[in-house]
Symmetry: C2
Subunit: 371 residues, 2 copies
């Protein structure tokens, strides 16, 4: 049903809700981070989970990215058509996921991060069966406490095994600083602590003749502190292409740097003190802004950031009018910047690239789903 | 990419994460509610937002449902191919949404609920242009405070206008008791209060020669109290076809009545006290269980409900192992019942209907998106 309508050329013609990206803001975001990475000698490998659109990964590559980062098999398959160097920053334990990775075109340079022997064994067996060289990064837990080995001894054991198991190639380490999400001005102590822990791992690996050629880290919240980890070789931010309300709230971008918004229509003003729009949890998605920032709700109006989404149902977003003189009318349209852009994009079949009220381009969110 | 793999015949063959529905449990859920509605003389009009699959709406119709409820235009378009009586329980203010509704096959009996004059004016103009009879329900706010008129005077004004504006047909009122979501044993006072308020509206409408032929209410949390509102003619539960962790937590179903789960693979056990699975916020979705119930996290294992999803990233679900002796291994598979099934189904391209480990049927989640 998603292709039933004729293509729209202006934002006015779009049915709501719809996912919009301001192209000028997006290109400035891309250029800013490409320049930062180049300036600090860091390889940039953007995470495609944010946009799930191969055309945008290709644009990142054109601006100097060394390749693309993915988590899922559809992300890998879709992105491999646009970018020939893919890091799967996720243990491909499920046999279906491994099979899809092995079926990527042989021309694609494939690297996989993982944290366990069972994952390594499965990958090794599949790579051998496919006759495919696969790079391996050992994932380290440097404070996120989600995945990643817990000690240098565990890292050494996995690295040793990865080097021994042909056709795998041990290439280094990966970590994700996802626990550092407070305001950028308050991140330095955590980043210093992470750096010390990282040094311990890297020194142990080097001492065991297993030096990490690739040290892959980075996130959008910590992006512009990346040079403070001098042994890091590569960063994997995803959100930075669009930014979102969380990124702005923690000072990792300005509000005007938020390129993505959800176009919505006011459908009811019956209940005093609020306006209801046709973008709810199935268009914006639900995620609080964590950390020490004062940004209630689930998103805010791009042009009136004091108006925030105070509550949602699946197809309803309730705008709090307590802090504004704006008196919305039924039928009026707004653009909402969600708290977390990656999980909002994932709900939309297409992203519309706009300049003002014109639609200049439109991308399919091609890598949704898993199978 | 979603159709690249050959069809699977057993659950073992599915790539994870994947959406499963236990067919025997689902059929028991459908039969139980159909019987309840029939027994109490209530028309059953299930909300299709839960499954977004026309085959399942047709099955509900076969079991006696009078039609289907939808919110979005794709839901209406997809369901109209399977069921010839559609209630749009959502003000179709956006011109794109109205246009899609007017394009439904003329054989479809169409009813729309709304709460404002602008919405009524737009609908009337579009219906006149399309030469289409459209039924109108006036939406009442009976405590949810989301949408709905606030006073009997407002309801009368809209009902008058709806009767006057051909080719619209005033048919009655709609409300959604979504604010009543505490444990079923504690709902009666709220339901009684709602009933009194409803009586006020219905009496005012009847006194003005605008009697409500249709009084449409009902939700899954309040489902089996529906007969306590004797002037209600129709109920619109959605979740009941699958149920979910919230429904079980408030006592509106038993745990064994949860038909839907997300199949996931354990991908890491590196961090002590937890296991990480490949179903996160992009497979389960994020919603707390509100109300006075003790059910932390975002979902729980179908076969070990004491193991819950304590945290999520987009592709990671962190299982809390604090309350179990279970020691999961990397590669092991689990089935997770999410807190809120409707927003989980919406993330999956397909639902697999299973009996034990066999896949008996598979439905496309056809009505995702909006355009």
């Amino acid at each position: 049903m998603n292709s039933a309508s004729p293509p729209c050329t202006t934002v006015d013609q779009l049915a709501t809700p719809a996912a919009l990206v301001d192209l000028d803001v997006m290109h400035a975001n891309l250029a800013r981070v490409a320049e930062y990475a180049t300036g600090h000698g860091l390889a940039l490998r953007p995470h495609a989970k944010t946009h799930k659109a191969p055309g945008l990964a290709a644009e990142q590559r054109r601006l100097g990215a060394v390749g693309v980062t993915v988590a899922t098999a559809p992300e890998a398959a879709v992105m491999a058509g646009a970018v020939d160097d893919v890091l799967v920053a996720y243990p491909p334990v499920d046999p279906g996921r491994i099979a899809r990775l092995m079926a990527l075109p042989p021309s694609v340079r494939l690297t996989v991060a993982l944290d366990s022997e069972p994952a390594l064994d499965r990958l090794s067996a599949a790579a051998a069966a496919a006759g495919r060289v696969v790079g391996v990064l050992v994932e380290l837990d440097l404070g996120m406490h989600r995945t990643g080995v817990q000690t240098p001894a565990d890292a050494l054991a996995l690295a040793h095994l990865a080097r021994r198991l042909e056709p795998l190639e041990y290439r280094g380490v990966m970590f994700y600083p996802g626990h550092i999400r407070q305001h950028v001005d308050q991140q330095l102590a955590d980043i210093e602590r992470l750096g010390s822990e990282l040094d311990g791992y890297l020194d142990a690996l080097a001492a065991a003749q297993l030096p990490a050629q690739i040290v892959s880290g980075g996130s959008t919240p910590t992006l512009f502190h990346s040079h403070r980890l001098p042994r890091q070789t590569e960063i994997r931010p995803g959100t930075y292409i669009f930014n979102d309300r969380t990124t702005a709230a923690i000072g990792a971008c300005a509000w005007r740097d938020c390129a993505y918004s959800v176009l919505a229509t006011v459908i009811s003003t019956a209940v005093p003190g609020q306006a209801v729009v046709d973008a709810g949890s199935k268009a914006l998605n639900r995620e609080d802004i964590r950390g020490a920032v004062d940004a209630p709700g689930y998103g805010a109006l791009r042009d009136r950031p004091e108006v925030f989404v105070k509550a949602m149902s699946e197809e309803h977003g309730l705008l709090c009018l307590g802090g504004t003189d704006w008196q919305p009318r039924v039928g009026e349209r707004v653009r909402i910047v969600p708290n977390h852009v990656c999980i909002s994009v994932n709900l939309h079949p297409r992203i519309h690239g706009v300049r003002g009220d014109s639609i200049a381009h439109s991308w399919e969110v091609a890598a949704r789903g898993w199978a």
